[in-house]
């Protein structure tokens, strides 16, 4: 399986994602944002970081970069796209995913391990997880407070497009287990064709027991199968 990781000047999880992909036996390539064409890929990853310092709005400026047009084309022709953290923010700025990510409700950067629940495991990104499985995954962001209008929220629910929700250790989804104020504890969503996933938590940080746990592995292995 071939993957590409897009590097913006301020990306800083690009290496981490590449390590994860290679560990999972993807044939991975790094793609600089000024490129005007993408190598043939089954999966495109937009990694975390601060693409352009997160100035203006996080992800806004990356959303105007040259390579993004290619990503949109690939997405429309069915290529799998994974946006993690800043990557999720960029995907919303390009319109590939609906909604937006506002400042965390406490206005502070948050880095910690949180629990998330698998809401839909019938997608190419999540088939190796069990439904309602509780994962422990690291988050690290300033703007992870997912917001969308009520129509879209209904659509997300009706079409089963919510990928993950923040929860507590026991899978309880409530306000205390919502780290950033995201609407209905949403931590990640799909587009309607389910070939695009945007998520705030960092699965690439959870593939190595010596630094964390291995709860992120199944996301990558789902993609492989």
């Amino acid at each position: 399986m071939k993957s590409s990781v897009i590097i913006f000047p301020g990306s800083n999880c690009d290496r981490d994602v590449a390590v994860a992909l290679e560990k999972m036996q993807f044939k991975n390539q790094m793609v600089w944002h000024k490129e005007t064409s993408l190598p043939k890929s089954d999966l495109i990853v937009i990694p975390g970081g601060f693409s352009y310092g997160d100035y203006l709005r996080s992800g806004a400026i990356a959303g105007k970069s040259l390579i993004i047009d290619e990503v949109i084309k690939a997405a429309n022709s069915g290529c799998l796209i994974l946006g993690i953290c800043n990557g999720f923010q960029i995907l919303t700025e390009t319109g590939l995913l609906k909604g937006t990510l506002l400042r965390n409700k406490n206005l502070k950067f948050i880095n910690k391990d949180v629990n998330i629940k698998v809401i839909n495991n019938k997608t190419k990104f999540s088939s190796k997880y069990k439904l309602n499985q509780v994962l422990k995954i690291n988050i690290a962001h300033n703007e992870g407070n997912y917001f969308t209008n009520n129509n879209h929220l209904e659509e997300l629910k009706k079409e089963n497009l919510i990928a993950f929700k923040y929860c507590d250790e026991d899978g309880e989804i409530n306000e205390q287990s919502n780290p950033n104020g995201a609407k209905e504890n949403i931590a990640g969503i799909f587009n309607s064709k389910k070939n695009i996933l945007g998520m705030m938590p960092h699965p690439e940080r959870m593939i190595d027991r010596s630094i964390s746990n291995t709860d992120g592995i199944n996301l990558f292995s789902s993609l492989l199968s």
Binding site: N12, R15, G53, Y55, F109, N111, N138, A140, S210
Partner: protein
């Protein structure tokens, strides 16, 4: 324009210093030249008050590749790997504008490390604030923490460790020290020494603005009439640009284009160009009208003294310019040849073709003033505090007082604002004795920690200086690392005051003695004097940043209890020293007595033995005992693991309170599996280590025989509430 007293004063130059300038130049300097002298001769750049004392520090060792004198220190960690690290203060800017001050502090220290060819892999910080009840403290704390996070998170380097302390002494002068640690290949280390004549001097990075120009208000008044707009301004950091600069520099460093490279830190273009030329015994000529400027009509004076961030100076090999330019353009950064090296040994400054200033390099560097300031020695306080004469207090209450105090409360309110995991090599985050960061793609890791003990140092600087090096060393040992070398940030008051100068000299002697004994050399550092206001100086606060090596990171250790029913062993002898202790401070507001003495022989012996036990996989968890004594150390281990412990009363005992809260040095708590007891005791005995088996781990309760029993969750709450309620 003639130079008068007022102008000298605004440049921080004394009259006899001015006379020395006239003599070195054999003429009067013009204003530009005076500004340059003032920047190079001030305390921050010249180390004029500290130099003769710093000279005595041990800086050598088998592990040292580069000691003090370069942008950062370099040590050998085996194979072809080197670690490059340094700590630096940003105290005054952070007090004026906490967010930007702290952020640019982080940015500055990162540049010192990647200038030498290292990819930064960890950030640390030591931050000291005034009393929490002081009206400014909360704003300063918030600003500093988000500034440190704002910069480190954005550039994508994990902030993995640090210390946060509150003490009235910093009410008017907080301390913000930032440390950066980088990894490089041994044969790919870059230095600032210029070589060769007629080599291109290249300016890269951000544009130059009127940021932080010393004495600029005065200077601009001299330059033109409508000067009110040209107020000196605070430096604003741009971590995004720094990230570009980092990547561009590392990319250029892959081949051999660079002769010499130097970041523009304090005194900007001035100190960077002088330093490169001085080290290479060369001259340097700059055409200042080529410097990319952010503002219109910037003068040579402003350009030379600007402290705009995210800039570097590079001397390139012939024929490498085009390739280098391509790299910087790829990263959208300015790349401009602004001058060349010369054989004149002068700093020559041109603007629009005209020479605006010319100063012999050595007048700015090696001939800068050096002072042997008067200092007085402080005697060891003799006052003994008798605990029996104090109001009786229950052990449980005393412990809770300590665990809920600002200084001992859990710091996750702070550390959750730092990305600790980016780069995916953080084996151990902050919260234990030292953070552990893996060398990418290798089995080995480094352990890092920063420490200080201002109260000890105030009470008796020599003992305090010695103690803090040992505490730092102990912190690295506790996680299973072999301590290799340190960097130090010496935060002191006004050196023109004999008592303060004495604190400095004595602290340094203490540091020296400990470093020598432990083979723990100083490879880099920074001095920050004049901390304080209106004759009120801060407590002497040397901050030690240590780096240790863990050959196999799988052997590293945390301070969390691992399993029920294992033995708790106290390594090292307990006398119950409570002078200057946290017990007295938090419970009686007493800050008195002598600090605990550190016996270096025991320190080394105990430490190396614990290290040995860890290497042999005989220890489940370990924690050094410091502020708050044995009981505090035990409760920290319990709280972090949510596992209980039961401690029994020792048989021979004078005073149980002193035993539990005393801050005797050189001690560790270790958790040992019962199966390993024999082996552990054998090794301890073999090495003549004093130890006591004091109890065992258990479920749920933190228990001291006959004194207290408290649910571990309650203890956790006590320890976790302060920041959230502040």
């Amino acid at each position: 324009m003639s130079i008068n007293n007022e102008i000298l004063e605004k440049h921080g130059l004394k009259l006899d210093e001015y006379k020395k300038i006239q003599k070195l130049l054999t003429r009067n300097p013009n204003l530009l030249e005076l500004g340059i002298f003032s920047a190079m001769w001030n305390e921050h750049c010249s180390y004029k008050s500290s130099k003769i004392h710093l000279k005595n520090l041990p800086t050598k060792g088998k592990q040292v590749i580069q000691g003090p004198g370069e942008n950062a220190g370099v040590i050998d960690i085996g194979d072809d790997d080197a670690i490059i690290f340094k700590i630096e203060s940003h105290n005054h800017p952070s007090y004026i504008e906490p967010y930007q001050g702290a952020a640019t502090g982080v940015g500055g220290i990162l540049r010192d490390v990647f200038t030498m060819g290292a990819r930064p892999i960890a950030l640390l910080n030591s931050i000291h604030f005034g009393s929490p009840s002081h009206p400014k403290t909360k704003t300063l704390l918030n600003g500093v923490v988000s500034g440190i996070g704002g910069y480190g998170n954005c550039i994508g380097i994990p902030t993995v460790a640090g210390e946060t302390k509150f003490n009235d002494t910093y009410n008017e002068n907080i301390l913000v020290n930032a440390m950066a640690v980088g990894h490089a290949k041994k044969e790919k280390i870059f230095y600032s020494k210029a070589k060769g004549i007629n080599k291109a001097v290249v300016y890269v990075g951000s544009k130059t603005g009127r940021d932080g120009i010393h004495g600029a208000s005065m200077a601009s008044a001299e330059f033109d009439e409508n000067s009110e707009e040209k107020k000196p301004t605070v430096q604003v950091g741009d971590p995004f640009t720094e990230k570009l600069l980092l990547e561009a520099c590392l990319e250029l460093m892959r081949d051999d284009s660079i002769i010499s490279i130097q970041d523009m830190g304090a005194a900007g273009l001035t100190s960077s160009s002088v330093e490169m030329a001085s080290k290479g015994s060369l001259g340097i000529e700059l055409e200042l009208d080529k410097v990319p400027c952010r503002e219109e009509n910037m003068t040579p004076y402003e350009i030379m003294l600007s402290e705009s961030q995210e800039r570097m100076l590079i001397i390139l090999e012939d024929g490498k310019e085009e390739n280098a330019r391509k790299i910087f353009e790829k990263w959208d950064l300015d790349f401009i040849v602004i001058g060349k090296t010369t054989d004149t040994k002068n700093l020559t400054l041109k603007f629009a073709g005209k020479v605006e200033g010319e100063i012999p390099i050595e007048a700015l560097a090696s001939k800068a003033p050096v002072y042997d300031r008067k200092w007085t020695k402080k005697n060891l306080p003799t006052k003994k505090i008798e605990i029996k004469k104090l109001k009786k207090i229950k052990i449980e209450d005393a412990l809770i007082k300590i665990l809920s105090s600002p200084n001992h409360s859990n710091k996750s309110w702070i550390t959750n604002q730092y990305d600790q995991m980016v780069m995916c090599d953080t084996i151990q985050k902050s919260g234990s004795d030292a953070a552990i960061v893996r060398i990418h793609n290798k089995d080995k890791a480094i352990a890092v920690s920063v420490d200080s003990s201002a109260n000890y140092c105030k009470s008796h600087p020599f003992t305090g200086g010695k103690q803090i090096v040992c505490e730092n060393w102990r912190n690295l040992i506790s996680v299973g690392a072999k301590p290799l070398a340190i960097t130090n940030c010496l935060n002191f008051g006004n050196p023109e005051n004999e008592v303060i100068m004495g604190e400095f000299a004595e602290c340094l002697k203490g540091i020296k003695e400990a470093c020598n004994f432990l083979n723990y050399p100083v490879v880099s550092g920074n001095v920050s004097f004049y901390n304080g206001t209106n004759k009120k100086n801060i407590f002497p606060t040397p901050v030690i940043g240590g780096v240790g090596l863990i050959n196999k990171f799988t052997k590293s250790l945390s301070s969390q209890f691992k399993k029920k029913n294992s033995l708790i062993i106290l390594v090292g002898k307990t006398f119950g020293h409570i002078g200057q202790s946290c017990f007295l401070k938090e419970n009686y507001s007493i800050l008195d007595g002598a600090p605990p003495e550190t016996n270096l022989v025991n320190e080394r012996n105990n430490g190396l033995t614990v290290f040995n036990l860890i290497e042999q996989d005989l220890i489940l968890s370990a924690h050094d005992i410091s502020s708050g004594g044995l009981i505090t150390a035990l409760s920290e281990m319990a709280i972090n693991s949510l596992m209980g412990v039961k401690v029994s009363k020792p048989k021979k005992l004078t005073n149980f309170t002193e035993y539990l809260f005393g801050e005797d040095q050189g001690r560790y708590v270790i958790e040992v599996d019962k199966k390993g007891q024999k082996d552990v005791e054998k090794i301890l005995k073999l090495n003549d280590i004093f130890y006591e088996i004091i109890g065992f781990t258990q479920k749920k309760y933190f228990e001291i025989e006959g004194e207290m029993k408290i649910d571990i969750n309650d203890l956790f709450k006590v320890n976790n509430q302060w920041y959230n309620n502040y």
